[in-house]
């Protein structure tokens, strides 16, 4: 079953076509990556999926298990409540709120307290608020930020900010999590632990992961499916091994000359090994 199906989505900005008739199907409970050179339209795709942009054409069907819903006409907050959460390429926390407050903002859509209930301080509201604090703590523990709940988001070290952003998006109880370059700016050690962490999200929480990533090592290590986008179009799709061997991918990343050279070289190597 596919949790997300994108059909013929096109997004234009004036004369520029950022996404051009893109198709994409993401199987439930998979780790799926979208890669492509800078400006290929990856982040635009995320923005279309989360409701910040409205594509001119096409449909985005989200099926959290209860039948498909078209996301194209929905507002971002409605899409979040359906079960899609995201993180940002350049971390976007609420800098002047504490870590635990950041996570509790993520819980917003799951809390039911009415205004009247809040003003009267009803027992149900107090209970819910206690649950929210516990849940936020639990999520902070899960991402490895135990005991840092009271620090301002702004004062956390970089790696912790990345984790906090993920905890905050987990608080919305997503079925599909969109990670926009989660290892940008990380050193190899941090990247390594992030790979393990993303796997845990899928294995322990059953969340489908959609990644945008530049770090090829991460993409190849973690993804089960990869789609390569260039100029807003899909140019390749398949398992990491298939994508790696695809000459169009190499061309997109390294240019036509490099692709030809690489093809010649591998041919030469092959003939050499035959002769040898």
């Amino acid at each position: 079953m596919n949790i997300l199906t994108i059909r013929g989505v096109t997004k234009r900005f004036g004369g520029l076509t950022a996404i051009d008739g893109l198709d994409l199907s993401i199987p439930a409970s998979s780790i799926y990556s979208v890669i492509g050179p800078n400006g290929a339209g990856k982040t635009t795709l995320f923005n279309c999926m989360t409701g910040f942009y409205t594509p001119e054409e096409g449909e985005i069907l989200f099926d959290p298990g209860s039948g498909p819903v078209d996301l194209v006409q929905l507002r971002p907050d409605e899409i979040t409540r359906l079960g899609i959460a995201r993180t940002y390429q350049n971390i976007r926390l609420f800098p002047e709120l504490t870590a635990i407050e950041n996570v509790m903002v993520g819980l917003h859509g799951r809390l039911k307290a009415s205004i009247v209930g809040v003003l009267l301080n009803l027992p149900s509201v107090r209970r819910e608020e206690r649950w929210a604090v516990d849940e936020a703590r639990r999520l902070l523990d899960f991402v490895g930020l135990a005991g840092k709940g009271d620090s301002l988001a702004n004062n956390l070290p970089y790696g912790d900010q990345r984790r906090l952003e993920i905890a905050r998006s987990l608080a919305t109880d997503p079925r599909l999590l969109l990670l926009d370059e989660p290892t940008a700016g990380m050193n190899p050690n941090e990247t390594e632990s992030m790979i393990g962490f993303i796997r845990r999200l899928r294995d322990e929480l059953g969340i489908t992961i959609l990644l945008i990533e530049h770090d090829m090592r991460l993409v190849m290590a973690i993804s089960e499916h990869i789609t390569v986008v260039d100029f807003g179009q899909q140019i390749a799709e398949g398992s990491p091994a298939e994508v790696q061997a695809n000459p169009r991918v190499i061309e997109a990343y390294l240019g036509r000359g490099a692709a030809e050279e690489l093809a010649e070289r591998s041919q030469a190597a092959r003939s050499a090994s035959r002769e040898g």
């Binding site: 907050d77 903002v105 917003h108 205004i115 809040v118 509201v125 301002l152």
Partner: protein, 585 residues
């Protein structure tokens, strides 16, 4: 590194020049002349003239220059920046400031500046030269005074940390008490006249104050008290805290709760007693402060919590006031009572809050500020317009609005006979309204709605991505803010009984915004501190009210530069500040 030290000394001299220019500016707007009538310090042994506020400000200004420059030059030497001897830097700055004043004396005594600067009167030459006149003495005296006072300021700045805060607070208390003498003595007189108790208070006040200004013994007593408090209280408090920690956990919780309950009860009793105990004029001031607090709490939700910069907040105040006025004044013929009109006024305010909210949903920051500014003006112009004159009375406004509360003449066994005036009666509904608004702000702040507002303030797009409905959240903020302002307006109308469009100008919006900024954005206690500092003080000290706007400007600039988080910041802002300072120290 001698060059760098020279640079530093140059910077110190420049600070002195700026300080001198600031003093000169204060002189040229006529501040000193106004303040010359208020005695602060009584003369020694009762002879001669008291030291008045103008001299205190001038000399105090020079002292502060020295203090600030010395504080900057003090502290450990870092490798990158060599620091000159603090006393040297301070003295240089003080002399530079004095030189600025001397140059003015030199100029003004030879050229008549009154044509350009209305306040450049001969009085100023005499005053700024410290009585030296136009001759050489008039040039030497300010420079010398600057040098000596700045050195004194440096001495103060270099006191050990254990003593410095106490001395500083003591000096400030002396100036403040001196300034408030007329208010305090009038008050004490009133209390002792109307009641038998209060003899002790009167005796203390008589002892501290001379006829005009704080008596020398009073100065010493205040300084000693401030020192004793700041030096003595800390170990006392630490000891108490240690003992508290040693208690078992459940007892800690219980005693903390008991203590808090006791404190709240005492505070409430005090607040209930205040208007009856203080008389009509202070009650009037407290009413005004209360209405400002009410509106501050409302605007704090809109600007401080949700980050929606609203410059037309006065509109809702006007709407509340006019709704009550129209519904209750006999002139309109509807003739409802205040309490029947109040819910209507609140509903109308909420309605307008939403009506304003809808068109500005898509705008942020500057654009939002401009639109709301326009909205405020539209409401004021509608109120003054000829089209609505039959209902709103045009520029003449609406008269004969009934009071919200009338307390009948009462005889109490201990307190005596009580015949409260309108200002005292209105205090109670205002107090109740402030209590209500405080409760609302406090409950909402800790709820998911408050968090949604703060998320909105921090990053609107991400807030939406977290499942927050922007439309609902923004409209709720506008509506809550409008309710509190509408309530404030309704109480204002009932208190003054006659309202004019002129009472609802842009300045009210600015005042409320400034008090929020001074108190600390988003901080609820900050609203109270800000209102007391910016509304109550100028109200009590009439000669300041001429310079109210100038002082607002100065206070705002100083606050933004030195204390952007406000006088009473939110707990988080306070912590952030300390954690920012920690690594640099």
């Amino acid at each position: 590194m001698p060059r760098s030290i020279q640079g530093r000394l140059g910077a110190a001299a420049a600070s002195g020049v700026y300080g001198g220019l600031a003093l000169l500016l204060a002189a040229l707007v006529g501040m000193f002349e106004q303040f010359a009538k208020r005695p602060i310090l009584a003369p020694l042994a009762g002879r001669g003239e008291p030291v008045t506020l103008d001299l205190v400000l001038l000399l105090g200004g020079l002292l502060v220059i020295g203090y600030l420059v010395a504080r900057r030059s003090a502290g450990p030497d870092s490798i990158a920046v060599a620091k000159p001897v603090p006393e040297l830097a301070a003295g240089l700055a003080g002399a530079a400031a004095g030189l600025v004043l001397a140059l003015y004396v030199l100029t003004a005594s030879r050229i008549d500046l009154t044509g350009i600067l209305i306040n450049a009167k001969p009085f100023l030459v005499d005053f700024l030269s410290l009585g030296g006149g136009a001759g050489p003495a008039g040039l030497a005296r300010p420079v010398l005074a600057g040098l000596l006072l700045a050195l004194a300021g440096a001495g103060l700045a270099l006191l050990p940390d254990r003593w410095r805060p106490g001395v500083n607070r003591g000096l400030m208390a002396v100036v403040l008490l001196g300034t408030l003498q007329s208010v305090l003595t009038r008050q004490v007189d009133w209390v002792t006249q109307s009641r038998r108790a209060g003899g002790l208070v009167a005796a203390v006040v008589d002892w501290v104050y001379a006829n005009k200004g704080v008596a020398p013994r009073g100065v010493l007593a205040i300084l000693a008290l401030a020192l004793a408090l700041s030096v003595g209280v800390r170990p006392l408090r630490a000891g108490l805290e240690r003992r508290f920690r040693r208690l078992p956990a459940d007892q800690q919780v219980r005693s903390a709760r008991l203590l808090r309950g006791l404190r709240v009860t005492l505070l409430l009793c005090l607040l209930m007693w205040l208007p009856l105990g203080l008389g009509t004029y202070p009650s009037d001031v407290m009413d005004t402060v209360g209405i400002y607090i009410l509106m501050g709490l409302g605007l704090n939700i809109v600007v401080g919590f949700a980050g929606l910069l609203d410059l037309g907040y006065v509109a809702f105040y006007a709407i509340g006031a006019y709704t009550v006025a129209v519904l209750t004044s006999p002139a309109s013929g509807i003739g409802l009572g205040f309490w029947a009109a109040l819910p209507v006024a609140l509903l109308v305010s909420i309605g307008f809050g939403i009506v304003l909210g809808i068109p500005v949903l898509k705008t942020h920051g500057d654009y939002l500020a401009i639109i709301t500014l326009g909205f405020g003006e539209i409401i004021r112009i509608l109120a003054i317009s000829d089209a609505l004159k039959p209902w709103l009375g045009g520029a003449r406004g609406i008269q004969l609005i009934p009071a919200a509360l009338r307390i009948p003449l009462r005889r109490f066994p201990l307190v005596g006979t009580m015949d409260p005036q309108l200002q005292q009666e209105m205090y109670y509904p205002i107090l109740a309204a402030v209590g209500l608004a405080l409760y609302l702000a406090w409950r909402l702040r800790g709820s998911r709605y408050g968090r949604a507002w703060m998320a909105l303030r921090e990053d609107e797009e991400v807030a939406e991505a977290m499942g927050i409905n922007l439309v609902g959240t923004k409209l709720f903020a506008f509506a809550t803010g409008a309710t509190m302002a509408g309530l404030g307006g309704a109480l204002f109308a009932s208190k003054v009984q006659t309202i004019f469009p002129a009472s609802f100008n842009l300045l009210i919006s600015i005042n409320i915004l400034v008090l929020i900024i001074v108190g600390g954005m988003g901080s609820i206690p900050g609203v109270f501190v800000g209102a007391l500092a910016l509304v109550a003080l100028p109200e009590l000290l009439r000669e300041f009210s001429d310079f109210r706007l100038l002082l607002y400007g100065v206070v705002l600039v100083i606050m933004m530069l030195n204390r952007p988080e406000g006088l009473w910041p939110t707990a988080i802002a306070r912590r952030e500040l300390s954690s920012k300072e920690a690594p640099s120290a």
